[in-house]
């Protein structure tokens, strides 16, 4: 992907604090117009990477390009950013807050006001537009902040854990908002712990662990990395299952209940296995060949890293 096609490009980016390596040699590119998942366990270096992306901190090594510019500050008016930990001026109203944030991004005052009122109306906060933030619920305040992030119509929206703290209904609203942004041709990069959101929304994702790149690509590519597991229930014996073509190994821990997990060899498909079962007269009570969930991929790729990262986080602070 060329620089011109990417909204964000990290090229060999590292960030060191003394001996501590928060981010190490990170290279990836976010295509324009994509919904891009930025995943990783706690302390993996996600927030540090996002801050470097936004020019708040400088990388120790490597280069970052944002919307084709090597200076984040130069294109800040085309970027919207929602940090993981958020807050607002308690004594300001939602309208004032959104107008202020949009104006800092260079929006015309009258237009910013109109946009604030439209957004509040659309997201069910019109009645609270002139109430002080301190009187709003946490969820409402969070919505206001999300609206403040997108009010100026940014080309690139960076959301750090946008779903945390939102109830299921508002999580759904946010998912719809992200879809809308995609429909408008904007690029959305978001980090999350909730794999279902990433699974539903992302075109591509990057996974980092211990500050290093663990994976970058589409969900399909990620799934292909995982061995295919078939779960079935049968009265057949382990040996008969292991003898089936394409089966790499059989897990029979729950054989007492007739349940088995069959790991397929690389390139083998579930359909072929199902046919082989019929051909050999193996009676099946159930046959589950669903694709691996992102959750499983995440745990498989960064499981050890996640446990280690907690220790790293302690060391950093």
């Amino acid at each position: 992907m060329s620089l011109a096609d990417s909204a964000v490009a990290f090229n060999g980016v590292s960030k060191h604090y003394g001996d501590f390596r928060a981010v190490e040699d990170l290279t990836f590119a976010v295509p324009k117009g994509a919904i891009y998942g930025f995943l990783g366990p706690n302390g993996a270096g996600k927030t540090t990477s996002l801050r470097m992306m936004l020019g708040m901190i400088r990388p120790t090594a490597g280069t970052i390009s944002l919307l084709g510019s090597d200076s984040a500050m130069g294109v800040r008016e085309r970027v919207g950013y929602l940090p993981e930990e958020r807050g607002l001026y308690r004594r300001m109203t939602p309208v004032e807050t959104i107008v202020y944030l949009a104006r800092l991004k260079g929006m015309d005052p009258a237009l910013a006001k109109k946009r604030a009122l439209d957004l509040l109306e659309r997201f069910g906060l019109a009645a609270f537009g002139n109430a002080k933030i301190e009187t709003l619920s946490k969820g409402m305040a969070q919505k206001v902040q999300i609206l403040g992030t997108i009010a100026h119509g940014p080309d690139l929206v960076i959301l750090d854990e946008p779903f945390s703290g939102l109830d299921p209904v508002n999580q759904q609203v946010l998912e719809e908002l992200i879809d809308d942004l995609r429909a408008e041709g904007r690029t959305v990069l978001f980090s999350t712990h909730v794999m279902q959101h990433a699974e539903r929304l992302c075109d591509r994702l990057v996974l980092i662990a211990r500050g290093k790149l663990a994976f970058e690509g589409t969900l399909g590519t990620a799934r292909a990395l995982m061995p295919r597991i078939i779960r079935l229930k049968t009265t057949a014996l382990t040996a008969a299952l292991a003898d089936l073509p394409g089966v790499a190994s059989v897990s029979d821990e729950d054989a007492a209940h007739g349940r088995y997990e069959l790991k397929l060899k690389d390139g083998q498909e579930g359909e072929a296995l199902l046919k082989a079962c019929f051909a050999r007269g193996i009676a099946l009570e159930s046959f589950d060949m669903s694709e691996p969930a992102l959750h499983d991929i995440f745990v498989s790729l960064v499981g050890d890293g996640a446990r280690e990262a907690d220790a790293r986080k302690d060391a950093k602070s």
Partner: protein, 511 residues
């Protein structure tokens, strides 16, 4: 959008946010009101103190009691005369004032001769008779203050011939207000004077005892001591064969020194009250400078702590650079400071316009002095450099603290450090060009306040310019250092950095 536009936006939000707070309005109104009250209340309390009752147990024959009665009567009439002079200054048209000229000068101490003249003139009765015809229309009536002390008869249950200590002890329930000495006010005894039998003014064998519960109340004791000292001195003169007239003339004699200054060429070098303003006014301006800067610098500290603790700072820093954000905050809060300052001046002027009398005249003299000297440009310059230094330090402090409690522990020593010149006010006032004032004036942190005080004493222009340039350079250095600290510390979480880490954040390019 340009950096300036972003700075202006941040400044505008800061200004609007603080201008809408109750604290802002309270500070604008309360400070001048408190300042005026602080000036008026002690005077009002002094003027409106209720008369206090005392008894005299004179076992020496009655001469001391008579002398005390005379002293009390003189005191009351002197106060009536002083009030008459104040009344005349405030309410009489200038052409009527000469009618009161037999009563001595318009201001200053009232002598025995003035008092005698007042009595010969007709005293309070005469004043109350003629003043209504002389005073301007709408003037209040002349009301002389009542006596400060009232001698009441010794309570019947006291044995006035007992030993002095026993008399004092017997009066204890009255002095402690457990018993009253009269049915009407003053009903409680505030003091008792017990004169032993052998007491003689010329050859006192034993001391006169003064009994009171309130040992810090010296008014009556001082009045009686002065009166009896005068009576004793006069008795001694008479014993030497002097006539009463000669003795009175000696007692009335006063010698004063007229103050002169070589800097007062135009008025022949003579120093007037107006000239003393030269010392007082710059000190007042220095205090005003200090107060206006400190009142708002604290807002910066609290603001940054709020933005840090609720993580708002990260959103803002994705739109403005740390330097732009800091500049916007400094500018917005400076606006608040200047608004408060302006309001203080307006409220002060309003009080002046509606006031009258000698104090108000003095205030007008002070304003003339401020307008005629280098004070306004100097104040503006010292406000800018003082504000830049102190406000940016407060901002830097806010960028490393997570809570007000954390900030408080760092702030206390800092405020003491910044208040140091005010502990040195007295020696600097006494000798504005002395070693202390000159040295402290060169310390950049203190230059704005100290040089403001010293401006009226004509320090050399080299000193003024050089110390000004030094403090300006210092404030820019502090601003630069605090901007680096702010940039590198404001996104940090966890414990506040140690001093060495702060130093590293300032000196190295990136944290």
């Amino acid at each position: 959008m340009s950096a300036l536009a972003r700075i202006f936006l941040v400044a505008r939000r800061e200004y609007k946010h603080h201008a809408r707070s109750k604290g802002f309005w309270l500070t604008m109104v309360a400070v001048p009101v408190v300042a005026v009250l602080a000036g008026l209340i002690p005077q009002w309390v002094q003027e409106n103190k209720p008369a206090r009752a005392f008894v005299v147990v004179d076992q020496s024959g009655g001469a001391i009691e008579a002398a005390i009665d005379t002293a009390i009567a003189d005191d009351t009439e002197k106060r009536a005369l002083a009030a008459l002079k104040d009344y005349a200054a405030d309410n009489l048209p200038p052409e009527s004032v000469p009618m009161l000229s037999p009563l001595g000068p318009a201001r200053g101490e009232i002598t025995a001769a003035d008092l005698a003249a007042f009595r010969a003139w007709g005293g309070v009765e005469q004043a109350q008779k003629i003043l209504p015809g002389l005073a301007r229309n709408g003037s209040p009536a002349y009301e002389p203050p009542g006596p400060r002390f009232v001698r009441v008869p010794v309570p019947a249950d006291i044995d006035i011939n007992a030993d002095a200590a026993a008399v004092g002890a017997a009066l204890a329930p009255y002095l402690r207000s457990e018993k009253t000495v009269a049915d009407v006010a003053p009903a409680y005894l505030s003091g008792a004077i017990v004169v032993p039998p052998s007491y003689d003014l010329i050859k006192p064998a034993a001391a006169i005892q003064y009994w009171s519960v309130n040992i810090n109340e010296y008014d009556l004791q001082t009045l009686v001591e002065r009166a009896l000292t005068g009576a004793a001195q006069q008795a001694l003169y008479r014993e030497q064969g002097m006539s009463q007239e000669a003795v009175s003339a000696i007692a009335a004699r006063r010698v004063g020194l007229q103050g002169f200054s070589p800097d007062k060429g135009a008025s022949g070098g003579q120093v007037e009250m107006k000239d003393r303003l030269l010392n007082i006014v710059p000190l007042g301006l220095a205090l005003l400078l200090w107060m206006s800067i400190f009142t708002v610098a604290n807002l910066l500290l609290l603001g940054v702590i709020e933005e840090r603790s609720n993580k708002l700072i990260e959103v803002l820093l994705s739109s403005v650079s740390a330097e732009e954000f800091m500049a916007g905050k400094l500018l917005g809060i400076a606006g608040i400071g200047l608004t408060i300052l302006f309001a203080w001046i307006v409220v002060g002027l309003l009080i002046l316009i509606n006031g009258d009398g000698p104090t108000v005249q003095l205030a007008y003299d002070a304003i003339n002095l401020i307008l005629s000297g280098p004070y306004i440009p100097a104040f503006a310059f010292y406000f800018v450099v003082g504000y830049l230094t102190i406000a940016s330090v407060f901002l830097g402090l806010g960028s490393v603290c997570n809570s007000q409690q954390e900030a408080q522990s760092l702030l206390t020593p800092l405020v003491f450090l910044l208040m140091l010149p005010f502990f040195l006010i007295m020696p600097m006032m006494e000798d504005p060009n002395g070693a202390i004032a000159t040295t402290v004036g060169w310390i950049p942190l203190y230059t704005p306040f100290v040089m403001m005080v010293r401006l009226s004493t004509n320090p050399s222009w080299v000193e003024v310019v050089m110390s000004g340039a030094t403090t300006l350079a210092f404030s820019l250095l502090v601003l630069w250092a605090m901007a680096r600290l702010f940039r590198n510390a404001v996104l940090r979480t966890g414990q506040p950095p140690r001093l060495i880490e702060v130093w590293r954040m300032i000196t190295r390019r990136e944290a």
